[in-house]
């Protein structure tokens, strides 16, 4: 369904001089710096798969997505969507894809939502019966009918995102690109959106590519993840593998009273890594190896914790770990 081959995008940015003199100088000579936003990326995505495309900020996720949906033209390499290059056959490929950018709406700001849908119905030439059927289904999974007649600018962020998602599905695309669909949403809305993505995938067999910073999105939705850092793929495989490699890592952040010196507390076990940050103690451990309940009890009894917070590992942590592991492997390889 999607083939990406040696995809590279280089942005050229003019270097501007500092201050007034620098500004005048740039009028006469232009120097450019090259930024390799995406650097030789290749992967294949079969039909019906939900793939998480993840990486830290500025890793090249959005740039790849924009090349896959035909907004940006690659510097080299190519993307094939169902055998066609989207940036060359824009209008043909556009019928097969739906795109949602979490940061920007594609809906018309000032007109009621239902009018935006009608415009899209015309633009994508959706028949009346298909339109009715899809609207019915999308309303049931996304709950959009309650604000159908409101102008888009009056919608809350969560409502708008649900509306955007529905809009991108009206023409029943084969592929749905979701660029941070849950950004800024509360837990309930996130959940609704995830359920909807699952339902769409199940009903229409839509291939979904989504970028996110939320580990929970990935755990709930994706069977496979592709991880990118500095424009290069650092991991491509099932989610389970990553979990096996790094375990079910959790971090426990404790606030401790001033009379306790964390360095004097006897360690619970070697599987827990402790770090101290002012009055905070951070314990990170593999929840599959260490019983969470025991760690919590231990934290209250030994550290006399006043407050605590449990968090799952973040994408940034996973990226850091993969990178450091790869460096280690490199170093080992060099020694041999």
């Amino acid at each position: 369904m999607i083939e990406v081959q040696e995809l590279t995008k280089i942005f050229r940015k003019p270097v501007r001089g500092k201050g007034l003199i620098g500004m005048i100088a740039t009028l006469f000579s232009r120097k450019y710096t090259e930024i390799r936003a995406v650097d030789g990326v290749s992967f294949d995505i079969p039909e019906g798969e939900i793939v998480g495309y993840i990486g830290s900020n500025g890793a090249g996720k959005s740039t790849t997505i924009k090349m896959m949906c035909g907004i940006l033209t690659p510097t080299s390499g190519k993307v094939l969507i169902d055998g066609k290059e989207p940036y060359l056959k824009r209008r043909i490929v556009a019928k097969d894809i739906g795109v949602v950018f979490g940061q920007k709406t594609q809906l018309w700001w000032d007109i009621p939502l239902v009018e935006s849908f009608k415009v899209l119905k015309e633009v994508y030439q959706v028949s009346d019966s298909d339109y009715e059927e899809r609207i019915k289904f999308l309303s049931s999974v996304l709950g959009i009918d309650e604000f159908m007649s409101q102008p888009v600018r009056t919608l809350s962020l969560g409502q708008r995102m649900r509306a955007d998602l529905a809009a991108s599905m009206l023409h029943n695309p084969k592929i749905l690109f979701l660029d941070e669909p849950t950004i800024g949403m509360d837990v309930l809305v996130k959940d609704k959106i995830r359920t909807a993505i699952h339902a769409l995938n199940a009903k229409y067999h839509t291939t979904v590519v989504l970028t996110t910073h939320d580990m929970a999105d990935i755990e709930n939705l994706c069977s496979r993840i592709i991880m990118i850092e500095k424009g290069k793929i650092i991991y491509d495989g099932p989610l389970g593998d990553i979990k096996r490699r790094f375990g079910n890592i959790k971090t426990l952040t404790l606030t401790i009273p001033p009379n306790i010196d964390p360095n004097e507390v006897e360690p619970f076990s070697n599987d827990i890594i402790m770090s101290v940050d002012e009055d905070k103690v951070i314990l990170s451990f593999d929840a599959d190896k260490v019983n969470l309940e025991h760690v919590v009890q231990y934290a209250f009894s030994k550290y006399r914790a006043i407050d605590m917070k449990i968090a799952d590992i973040s994408i940034e942590d996973v990226v850091k770990k993969i990178l450091s592991q790869q460096e280690e492997e490199h170093a080992k390889a060099k020694k041999i």
Partner: protein, 279 residues
Amino acid sequence: MRRLRKYKPFVRASAIDMMAYRFNIITWAIVTVFEVACLIFLWLAVYQSSEGGIDSSINGFTYKEMIVYVVLTTIFGFITFNDDTLWFINRDIRQGTIGNFLIKPISYRGKFIASNIGAFLMMSIVFGIPLYAAGLGVLIGIGYLPVASVWDFIAHFALFLVASVLACLLNGVISYIFGILCFYTSAAWGLNALKTTVISFLSGTLLPIAFFPNVFREIVAYMPFAGMSQNPVLILMMKYDYLECCKVILISLAWLVLLELFAKLLFSRAIKVVTVQGG
């Protein structure tokens, strides 16, 4: 035909937008009345000080004809040149909303043509009909148009409508070409000023092309701009016979095709340099 239907919403949206700017239109009308009055007095002074006095003909225009010309080009520009193409393109590029169009199965150019047509239709119906009817009444009233030649006038009016549509589309494509240049520079304001100046000077809005020096006049007559204001108005004023009407319409049509092809080429090059702002 079915393929064109998807542009219908854009025709409708821009027609509605046009009416949302009613207040702008009213203020514009007030300003314009003063401008036209100034021009009338200016031409009065020119004709009075010429050798033959007020009844003389300068470069083929009598004083009466000049006044009719000034009034008609003003009405014509008001109804035909309502496009924000350049500003829309500039905004789409700066804010990255161009991506919204690039992922839809519509042509970016087609969307603007649809908007131009929507605005043109709305303005023609709401303002065009009463203004041209009033203008016609005045023309018959001052004896410029003998009642006997009414049928002749209707034929010219039909040709004028064709020329108007071409003028509207020519203006649209030129705006679009200038707009595409916004991909390469952020000087949208300058580009717009340049476009407006070039059009108003070379289209005969400021001064009929007949007033330009010899060689220059010949060149300008074959440029696309003459068809955007002077030629339609002169068709309406029945200054052209049918052969000349057909000639100027064909020139406009040829330019329209040529410029659309150029715009297509320019866009396909420009689109490769798109770097959508904000990630």
